[in-house]
C-alpha cells in the first residue's frame, strides 16, 4: 500500500506556512504599500530575494543559521533543548522565508491599487488607521489575499531544494512528498514515484481549483 504520509506532511507544511505568511505578511505588505520611508525599496528588495536565490543556496545558509551553532539555532537549542534543523518547525521557518515573496507581493499589489483617497475618506469618517485597514483595505483586497494564499501554498507544496538542505529526510517529521518522490527515483522505484507524483498532482489540482472557485464566487457577490 502506498505510503501517503509524505503527502500529508507536505499538506501540513504548506498550510501552516501559508497561514503564518498571511498573518505576518499582510502587515508587511501594508507597510510596503503605504510608507514613504527611504527604507521601502530596501525592504522590498530583501523580500524579493528568495525568488532569486537558488533554493539550495538558501537552504545552505539556513542550515548554518538554524543549526545549533547559528544565531537563531543556538537560541532555539537553549530554549527547547532540541535542534531547529531536521525538525518540522525548522521546515516551517525555512518555508516561510522561501515562500515569503509569493505571499507578500500579491497582497502588496492589491493594497497599492487601493485608492488613497478612499482610505482618507475612511479616516475622516472616524476610522483609525488600524480600523480602516480591516474595514476598508482588507475587504477591497480579497483578490490579493486569495492570490497570496494560492501562490504560497502551491509554492511550499512543491518545495524541494530548501527542504533537502535543512530537513534531513526524517519520516513523519521532515520527509515531505517532494523528497519522497526524489528518493523513489534515486532508488529506481519508478512505480512508487509515479504513484506519489500523481497523488501530489491530484491534491494540488483539487486544492488550487477550489481556491479559484471561491475567488470566482467572491467576485460575483
Amino acid at each position: 500500500m502506498m505510503d501517503f504520509g509524505p503527502l500529508w506532511l507536505s499538506a501540513q507544511l504548506a498550510s501552516v506556512t501559508t497561514a503564518i505568511l498571511i498573518l505576518l505578511g499582510a502587515p508587511l505588505a501594508w507597510w510596503l504599500s503605504q510608507t514613504r520611508s527611504r527604507m521601502q525599496p530596501v525592504v522590498q528588495a530583501i523580500v524579493a530575494m528568495p525568488i532569486v536565490l537558488p533554493p539550495t543556496v538558501l537552504g545552505f545558509y539556513l542550515l548554518i543559521v538554524l543549526g545549533p551553532n547559528g544565531a537563531i539555532g543556538s537560541w532555539w537549542v537553549k530554549l527547547t533543548g532540541d535542534t531547529l534543523t531536521f525538525s518540522f518547525t525548522g521546515l516551517v521557518i525555512a518555508s516561510c522565508i522561501y515562500s515569503l515573496p509569493f505571499a507578500v507581493q500579491p497582497m502588496q499589489n492589491a493594497f497599492e491599487s487601493l485608492s488613497k483617497k478612499n482610505l482618507e475618506a475612511a479616516w475622516t469618517l472616524g476610522a483609525s488607521k488600524l480600523d480602516a485597514f480591516f474595514s476598508v483595505a482588507v475587504p477591497l483586497s480579497v483578490r490579493g489575499f486569495i492570490s497570496a494564499i494560492v501562490l504560497a501554498f502551491a509554492h511550499t507544496l512543491g518545495e524541494f531544494g530548501v527542504v533537502l538542505m535543512v530537513g534531513g529526510n526524517i519520516p513523519g517529521e521532515t520527509r515531505v512528498v517532494s523528497i519522497a518522490i526524489y528518493d523513489h527515483v534515486e532508488t529506481l522505484n519508478y512505480a512508487a514515484a509515479h504513484q506519489l507524483s500523481l497523488a501530489l498532482i491530484a491534491f494540488a489540482f483539487v486544492t488550487l481549483f477550489s481556491m479559484f472557485l471561491i475567488n470566482r464566487r467572491w467576485q460575483s457577490r
Binding site: 545552505f60 545549533p68 534531513g168 529526510n169 534515486e186
Partner: protein, 252 residues
C-alpha cells in the same frame, strides 16, 4: 525568421556537434567530481583528447542515460547502476570495472569531543544527531548502516540518525555542526575540509560491504576509441597513485 538567421542557427548547431565528436563526455557521480576533474586533466595532458564532465547524483545520471543522454563514460558511485546498464545493454559488455573503493570514517567537528574516543562517543548515544548518507540511495549510506549494525548500536541510536541525500550533504551536516558525529567518506577528509576534526576514527573495511565505485563504457557513445583509452587510463598506475593519495583504495 529570415534566411540568414536559419543559416546562422544551422552553422552553430553543426559546429557544436562537430566539437562534440572530438571531446569525451564523462558522467560522474557528484562525490567523485573533484577527483574526476583531476584525472580528466591528466588524461587530456597525456592524450590531447579534451574532456567534459557532467556531474550529478548517480540516480539522476542513470535516469538520464536510460533516456538517451549523450555520455561516453559513466563513473558511478556504486556498482548497482553500472551492472543494470550492462544488463540492459546500455553499457558495453565487459567494460565494467571497479575504478575505486571508498572508505568510511567516523568524524566530528564538535569541540566537546576534542581528543575524545570517537567510537566510544558514537556508542554512547549521548548526542542529538549522527549523520549518515541515505542507505537507500547512497552506497556510503548502506555501508554506514552495516557498520552501525556490526558494532551493535544501530537500533539504540536509530532515532538519532539524520540522513543526508548523498555523502556530500552528510558532510555538510557535520561540518555545519548540525550533526555532532557523521560517517563520511575518507576521500572527503583527504580532500581538505573547512574545519578541523575534533575526533575521528577510520572504519575498517571489513565491517561493511565494499563501497565499490564502478565505471562503464556506454554503448551509445560515438567516441568509443577515446572512451576506451580513458577507461584504460583510469586503471593506470598514474591514476592509482592519485586515488590512493585521495583516500581511495584500488583493486589489484
Amino acid at each position: 525568421m529570415s534566411f540568414f538567421r536559419y543559416f546562422a542557427l544551422f552553422a552553430v548547431l553543426a559546429s557544436t556537434s562537430s566539437f562534440a565528436d572530438e571531446s569525451l563526455t564523462i558522467a560522474v557521480a557528484s562525490n567523485f567530481q573533484v577527483t574526476a576533474k583531476e584525472i580528466a586533466a591528466e588524461f587530456t595532458a597525456v592524450t590531447q583528447i579534451p574532456t567534459r564532465i557532467s556531474a550529478g547524483s548517480t540516480g539522476k545520471l542513470y535516469a538520464q542515460i536510460i533516456n538517451g543522454a549523450p555520455f561516453d563514460v559513466f563513473l558511478s558511485a556504486d556498482a548497482a547502476r553500472p551492472k543494470l546498464l550492462e544488463e540492459n545493454g546500455l553499457a558495453v559488455k565487459g567494460s565494467r570495472v571497479t575504478y575505486a573503493t571508498g572508505a568510511l570514517i567516523l568524524w566530528s567537528a564538535d569541540s566537546e569531543l576534542e581528543n575524545q574516543d570517537c567510537l566510544a562517543a558514537l556508542k554512547s548515544g549521548s548526542y542529538r544527531w549522527l549523520a549518515i548518507a541515505n542507505p537507500l540511495t547512497a552506497p556510503y549510506g548502506s555501508a554506514a548502516k552495516e557498520f552501525l549494525e556490526a558494532v551493535g548500536v544501530f537500533e539504540k541510536i536509530e532515532s538519532r540518525i539524520v540522513y543526508g541525500e548523498n555523502i556530500s550533504q552528510t558532510l555538510q551536516f557535520v561540518v555545519t555542526g548540525n550533526a555532532t558525529l557523521g560517517l563520511i567518506a575518507l576521500s572527503q577528509v583527504k580532500g581538505g575540509l573547512p574545519v578541523d576534526a575534533s575526533c575521528s576514527w577510520n572504519v575498517p573495511s571489513t565491517m561493511h560491504t565494499a563501497i565499490e565505485q564502478q565505471a562503464v563504457l556506454l554503448a551509445s557513445s560515438d567516441n568509443a576509441d577515446a572512451a576506451r583509452r580513458f577507461m584504460t587510463f583510469l586503471q593506470s598506475a598514474q591514476v592509482t597513485t592519485l586515488l590512493e593519495r585521495r583516500g581511495y583504495t584500488v583493486p589489484e
